[in-house]
């Protein structure tokens, strides 16, 4: 793809992403308006702990005495300037809270994604090469199993087995409290804490990627260029790697892009189980404290993450596959 075409493609996708983000803000506004009670009481939560001064401050912030379109404008302007509101419970701006927790979530989802895609594709390829044989059935059953298991329950089982019974891995938090490690020792410590949550979050997606890779391998294997390679006497292993897998990976990548939201959503559950200090755990704590300003902030943040992730996949795709149209 030429540089100019790529730039035009980039511009188009950016505009589209911006529109989606704007739509998310408007959607959030509508959501708060639809909820029972006025927006101030929704944001303050229903526990009755909010004092009158805070409520008045919220009402002023939302401009509740002004016409609806002005209220919408105030809300949109606030969020787009990254003012996600104030958490009365934690006495900190929501944006600060999220910003502090984001790296932990990115680490967890990134590790889970890498685990899921590498193990999933490997299993899918293995199954596709042994279609109909016992190994294929076993892999299909594994995929079906993880696909049907609640993610938080998998987490609890792993804790039970590897932390409680075998005592191999920590079950709680991101690093050993009070150990004051630095450098490599710290990284290793975080790595040990990361294993169980990342596997938990990854297993469900591993199942999906394995099934997808298997199906798309089988589909590509039927095509003419693969038959030609066979006829030319290209070794089997090379055909799989250079011809089939390469083409079969594209649908997996596309799907992984679409699934980004699920991965982020799943991290709420996994972070809750493992007390992983990311935005998922933040959302869970906000739920417990009925701190809806924080909850909505996390919602906005995850939605924007998904938009960004889709943008990146789109671009990768356009660079990898020259057939992608600028639409």
């Amino acid at each position: 793809m030429g540089a100019e075409r790529l730039l035009r493609f980039l511009a188009q996708r950016l505009v589209k992403a911006a529109i989606v983000v704007l739509a998310i803000v408007v959607f959030q506004f509508v959501l708060i308006r639809l909820a029972p009670g006025d927006p101030a009481s929704v944001i303050a939560g229903q526990s009755g702990a909010a004092d009158a001064e805070f409520m008045a401050q919220l009402r002023a912030q939302f401009g509740l005495d002004r016409p609806m379109h002005e209220q919408l404008w105030i809300y949109v302007k606030g969020i787009l300037t990254l003012d996600l509101g104030f958490s009365h419970r934690q006495q900190l701006p929501v944006a600060t809270l999220i910003w502090d927790r984001l790296p932990a979530t990115l680490l967890l989802t990134g590790a889970a994604f890498l685990f899921a895609i590498s193990a999933g594709v490997a299993l899918g390829v293995a199954a596709a090469r042994r279609v109909g044989r016992p190994a294929d059935s076993v892999i299909t059953v594994i995929a079906l199993t993880f696909y049907a298991t609640p993610i938080f329950w998998v987490g609890l089982l792993l804790v039970l087995i590897f932390s409680v019974w075998l005592e191999w891995l920590p079950s709680f938090g991101m690093y050993t409290v009070g150990a004051d490690l630095t450098g490599l020792a710290y990284a290793l410590d975080v790595g040990r804490h990361l294993i169980l949550p990342a596997i938990t979050l990854g297993l469900f997606f591993l199942a999906i990627y394995a099934r997808l890779a298997r199906a798309s391998m089988l589909e590509v294997a039927d095509q003419d260029f693969v038959r030609t390679a066979h006829a030319k006497g290209v070794p089997e292993g090379r055909i799989i790697r250079a011809h089939v897998l390469r083409n079969a990976l594209l649908p997996v990548i596309t799907f992984a892009g679409i699934q980004a939201g699920q991965l982020v959503g799943g991290s709420i559950l996994v972070e809750t189980v493992f007390a992983w200090p990311g935005i998922g755990r933040l959302a869970f704590d906000a739920l417990l404290q009925r701190d809806y300003a924080v909850l909505l902030g996390v919602f906005f943040c995850t939605a924007v993450m998904v938009v960004l992730f889709n943008l990146i996949t789109d671009l990768l795709y356009a660079v990898i596959d020259p057939r992608v149209e600028v639409a």
């Binding site: 029972p36 929704v42 329950w153 089988l218 189980v273």
Partner: protein, 282 residues
């Protein structure tokens, strides 16, 4: 019909799934008879391991019967799964049918709307919806439906798009039948098989979603549910593993059974596509 059953039966997994599903259904129906008391009721000493003091699957931290909780929770899970799928189908089929049949700008607008809902992380949205509208069985069903309809719209739209130019539809148009009549009586019956396959998988996903919501404490406070039981057992897992393990097995078996049946339906309804086992985007 006989033909359908023959093809369904050929998929062993689907038959196993159907058997499990029947057992799950029986559990739901028989729960009030086998455990004729409230699942919230204290029945004995807390933290009894499975098999002791008449607790088949142990007792929880308040001396409640885990087996009774699971049995009573079955109906809740099945109801939430079923009803939210029906609501999602109603939204999805309506939008998909209108988009596919009308085409042009209407189609564009509906598809943008659908894409938007597919972009928003569905689980986070469900959490926000239930939290803001306060947890109850109604808000849970509505939240699950709101995050589950987009795939239906896509499938139905694609079917309507390909069917609307077929001769029998054109014949009905020439006869002057109303658009709504054509959509409901001519096109929809011919688009049913993918919808049926999709809906069995949607019920499975809905049950998983419900369990995740109640695990986070967003369940209906008046109803015993599997996810709630796992959430309640989470902090005492070192002490009483059975509190979280057994409800999880119940969720796993039910969801697995629904997925297996979905695959069997797919094989039976789309014989040509049977080899490409349906990978449904949820």
């Amino acid at each position: 019909m006989a033909d359908f059953w023959r093809r369904f039966r050929r998929n062993i997994g689907a038959v196993v799934g159907l058997v499990i599903l029947v057992l799950v259904g029986l559990t739901a129906v028989l729960a009030p008879i086998v455990f004729p008391f409230s699942p919230w009721e204290m029945r004995g000493v807390p933290f009894m391991p499975p098999g002791e003091m008449g607790f088949l699957l142990g007792s929880d931290s308040l001396g409640r019967d885990v087996a009774a909780g699971i049995a009573h929770g079955t109906l809740v899970s099945l109801l939430v799964g079923g009803v939210s799928t029906v609501v999602a189908l109603a939204i999805g089929i309506t939008l998909g049918a209108v988009a596919g049949y009308a085409g042009g700008r209407v189609d564009d607008a509906v598809m943008r709307f659908t894409e938007f809902f597919q972009t928003i992380p569905s689980f986070v949205l469900a959490v926000v919806l239930v939290a803001i509208f306060t947890p109850s069985i109604t808000s849970i069903v509505i939240a699950i439906a709101i995050v589950s309809w987009p795939p239906v719209t896509r499938v139905v739209r694609a079917e309507f798009l390909s069917l609307r130019s077929r001769e029998f539809v054109q014949a009905a148009e020439v006869l002057g039948r109303s658009r709504i009549a054509i959509m409901l009586t001519e096109i929809l019956p011919n688009a049913l098989s993918p919808i049926i396959v999709l809906s069995s998988l949607m019920v499975a996903t809905a049950i998983l979603l419900e369990s995740a919501l109640s695990f986070l404490g967003l369940g209906d406070p008046n109803l015993m549910s599997w996810g709630f039981m796992i959430g309640a057992g989470r902090s005492v897992i070192r002490l009483a593993w059975w509190m979280s393990v057994f409800p999880g097995i119940a969720i796993f078996l039910t969801v697995l059974a629904l997925n297996l049946v979905g695959e069997g339906l797919n094989d039976a309804l789309n014989p040509r596509l049977a080899r490409r086992r349906g990978m449904v985007v949820t």
